[in-house]
């Protein structure tokens, strides 16, 4: 305990102005980020911010190559990640890399790709390998198949034809066994859990086609369909690879954001020494030190210290909350002006996060029961196609065609209806639309969200951090420039707002931050104070200012024994919030604000935006209840929110959107994240959703029409391999080209 006291005293003594002192240089422990290869050479990955052009790539790689011990630095331009390898005998110095990046003008954070993303990477590679094999097989089998088709018109001998069929079999069978595995496994997994997925008809179609072709080849028949089977796999795998690539890109970007935002935690070792560790290394019971201006890295209980916390990311409440020993704090809260020692608690018991997660689990379950277009299409398609095949079989048997002919035609029906176009119809649109949204700064977490965005008729906004910008600004006039100069010495978020209006003023030398109270400085014999109303004796002024600015918080200033001043500080509206809300209402949508903040603060924002329906002071379960009530009334709700308290509501709503500054849990619950200060992404996703849904429906109708034409042809036995190949590739290409229109006009 005594050692922690020393550490706290150290921090507090140095909390006076000096960037170097407010963030004392501690022994940073980055061991968790370093991996070693077989020869003992260390490697680490970094997420890098600020890369805008190809030139940055050369700058970074050349700059880092000069850092001692570095063998190789390579920047991945696609996902903005840097991989550094050290020479085998060198000790990896991550801090040196970060400093070098900083000197080059970039921000970097060490980054641990983690198990999930490695598995994802492997899955992508597996799909691409399958695609390559299917492509090879499709080309070579097609080469032989075209020869057979051409030979049928000229003078090919039956011996040559059989030879060509056998060579096709030798290529197609192993290729299909390898390349089709993603579908076979998907079908099996679906069947085990008692569902018929789109993988099932694909598997059935491929296996039956191959089996029939082998039988036909054995009996020396004219037609074999090896080309159809491998081509089908090739087209479907293109869809899968694109889909996977979209997911991976979004995930990589979201992981970079998380890595760049995470600050790590300052661990207090039992001997009192301090070191910085990644948040993932914090165990329950660990003691961490929270300096002024830092975010709480993990849930815990305050052991020592006194400070103001800005909980707006947790509860939506904008007024600061004073915490002292024994208080519970939640990850994401922003520390004010005091240092705190926090004991990390196990994520158990009735903590806020558990409650939020339980609510979220329930909401997500309800949502996953909702059928998306692809499921509905599968449900309709599978029984219809199989019934058609069965009818064909029965019909030919009844007509006295014999088992061989009847089976042949039934399988032909299955081949020609194999859901090639159907399998591409929806993923292709999702991939193209997600790519278009990505360029507009929206990261889509879930492809099926697009069609949900399309049907939205009610938009619910959270206030804090969603309609407003996350960082506070000064609402009134700066009546004394000394207040702003003094604010430069504080790390308190409200003081930062004041400091922003200081222009190029320099901080007062010798200013000291008093934990939990404010900053003070002696200037020309006058004691200047900046901080809470109590600290400055400004209770009356603070109350008056709060009455005039109901959505603001106050920070007070007093020079000597003069009249104290109170400055209103508030989170400003996003610059285009009013226009976005107006155009949502113009398009006939209902707009509501559900906030966890005080009624006065919410009323002010609602008034400025012209939103009549708003509620304040809502707990997470209230928000979820309001949204469920709206949806029971038939509304399709889009929830836009960022706080931890919004996460259940985000999961419960028909569709959801979060700014990229949102709490982790909310980011995970939201269908999409948007970057930047503008609120227009709300309009962009709704528009993209409508366009995507229209194209998906067009594609589905097209696939249906194609089947309607092809099935009778196959059922009456007119389907030659040539027609099957033309129909299959023709419909796939048509569907893909139509999907490209989801890019929209720039």
């Amino acid at each position: 305990m005594c050692c922690t006291d020393t550490a706290l005293a150290y921090i507090e003594a140095h909390a006076s102005w000096s960037e170097a002192n407010t963030t004392p240089s501690l022994g940073r422990d980055y061991a968790a980020f370093v991996t070693r290869d077989g020869e003992g050479a260390a490697r680490a990955s970094f997420a890098v911010e600020g890369i805008r052009c190809a030139g940055c790539m050369a700058t970074i790689e050349r700059g880092l190559a000069r850092v001692p011990g570095v063998a190789r630095a390579r920047l991945n331009f696609s996902d903005r990640r840097l991989s550094v390898t050290w020479v085998p005998e060198a000790e990896p110095d991550i801090a040196a890399i970060l400093a070098a990046l900083d000197a080059l003008g970039f921000t970097g954070r060490p980054f641990d790709p983690g198990r999930v993303s490695r598995e994802e990477q492997e899955e992508t590679q597996r799909l691409i390998r399958a695609l390559a094999v299917a492509g090879f097989a499709a080309m070579n089998v097609m080469l032989l198949a075209v020869s057979v088709w051409a030979g049928a018109l000229s003078d090919m001998t039956p011996e040559n034809r059989d030879l060509f069929h056998w060579i096709q079999a030798v290529i197609a069978l192993p290729a299909a066994a390898y390349a089709g595995r993603p579908f076979y496994e998907g079908a099996l997994k679906g069947l085990r859990s008692g569902r018929v997925t789109m993988d099932f008809p694909i598997t059935l179609g491929v296996v039956l086609t191959l089996a029939m072709s082998v039988v036909e080849t054995l009996s020396g028949a004219t037609h074999a369909y090896f080309d159809g089977a491998v081509m089908l796999l090739f087209f479907l795998l293109i869809g899968r690879v694109l889909d996977q690539a979209m997911r991976r890109r979004t995930r990589a970007f979201a992981e970079n954001l998380a890595a760049l935002r995470s600050t790590g935690a300052t661990l207090v070792a039992p001997d009192g020494s301090l070191r910085d560790v990644p948040v993932s290394d914090l165990d329950p019971g660990a003691r961490i030190l929270l300096r002024p201006g830092e975010r709480v890295p993990a849930d815990g209980v305050v052991e020592q210290g006194l400070s103001d916390l800005d909980q707006s990311l947790v509860t939506g409440e904008t007024a600061a909350v004073t915490v002292r020993a024994g208080a519970r704090v939640f990850a994401g809260a922003l520390n004010g002006n005091g240092a705190l020692t926090i004991r990390v608690t196990a994520p158990a018991g009735r903590s806020l996060l558990d409650e939020v997660e339980a609510l979220m689990g329930r909401a997500l379950e309800a949502r996953s029961r909702a059928l998306v277009l692809a499921d509905r299409a599968t449900r309709l398609y599978v029984p219809l196609v199989h019934a058609a095949a069965a009818l064909t079989l029965a019909g030919w048997l009844a007509a006295g065609a014999g088992w061989h002919g009847a089976l042949l035609n039934a399988v032909a029906v299955l081949i020609v209806t194999c859901p090639c176009a159907l399998g591409l119809a929806i993923p292709a649109v999702q991939v193209v639309a997600a790519g278009a949204l990505f360029r507009e700064g929206v990261l889509l977490n879930d492809g099926t969200a697009l069609e949900r965005f399309a049907t939205i008729d009610t938009v619910v906004f959270d206030k804090t951090g969603t309609l407003t910008l996350p960082e506070p600004v000064l609402a009134g006039d700066l009546t004394d420039v000394r207040a702003a100069r003094l604010a430069l010495s504080s790390r308190h978020p409200m003081a930062l707002a004041l400091a922003a209006s200081a222009g190029d003023a320099v901080p007062f030398p010798g200013a000291q931050e008093a934990a939990g109270l404010g900053v003070r400085a002696n200037v020309e014999g006058v004691a200047l104070r900046l901080g809470s109303p109590a600290f400055c004796g400004a209770e009356t002024q603070a109350a008056a200012t709060l009455a005039a600015h109901p959505d603001a918080s106050v920070i007070c200033f007093r020079a000597g024994e003069g009249v104290p001043m109170a400055f209103p500080v508030r989170q400003d509206l996003r610059p285009d919030a009013a226009e976005v809300v107006a155009s949502l209402r113009e398009s006939g949508r209902r707009v509501l604000i559900l906030s966890g903040d005080r009624a006065a603060a919410v009323a002010a924002v609602a008034g400025r935006l012209g939103v009549a329906e708003w509620e304040a002071g809502l707990a997470p379960q209230d928000k979820i209840a309001r949204i469920e009530a709206l949806q029971r009334g038939g509304a399709r709700v889009l929830m836009v929110g960022d706080g931890l308290n919004d996460a259940p509501a985000l999961a419960a709503a028909h569709a959801s959107l979060s700014p990229a500054t949102a709490a982790h849990v909310s980011q995970a619950a939201a269908d999409a994240l948007f970057l930047g200060r503008s609120l227009t992404p709300v309009l962009a996703v709704l528009k993209a959703g409508r366009r995507a849904r229209r194209l998906m429906l067009q594609n589905l109708w097209f696939s249906g029409a194609y089947n309607l034409l092809a099935v009778p042809l196959a059922a009456i036995g007119l389907l030659t391999p040539l027609i099957a190949a033309l129909a299959m590739s023709g419909s796939s290409v048509a569907v893909t080209l139509n999907a490209l229109r989801a890019r929209g006009r720039p």
């Binding site: 190809a54 696609s78 390559a132 080309m139």
Partner: protein, 45 residues
């Protein structure tokens, strides 16, 4: 038509060589950063 016995294996061998080259490039990480590769190609060092 005996020429087929030479030409077809030859065509397949070329195809397989192409496939092997692609798989090797994939394993080698050459497709990990497609966007970066197009810029690297134009770098003059």
């Amino acid at each position: 038509m005996t020429v087929l016995l030479l030409v077809i294996p030859l065509a397949l061998a070329f195809g397989l060589a192409g496939l092997a080259a692609f798989l090797w490039a994939l394993r080698n990480g050459q497709y990990d950063d497609i966007e970066g590769a197009e810029h690297r190609a134009l770098r003059d060092d």
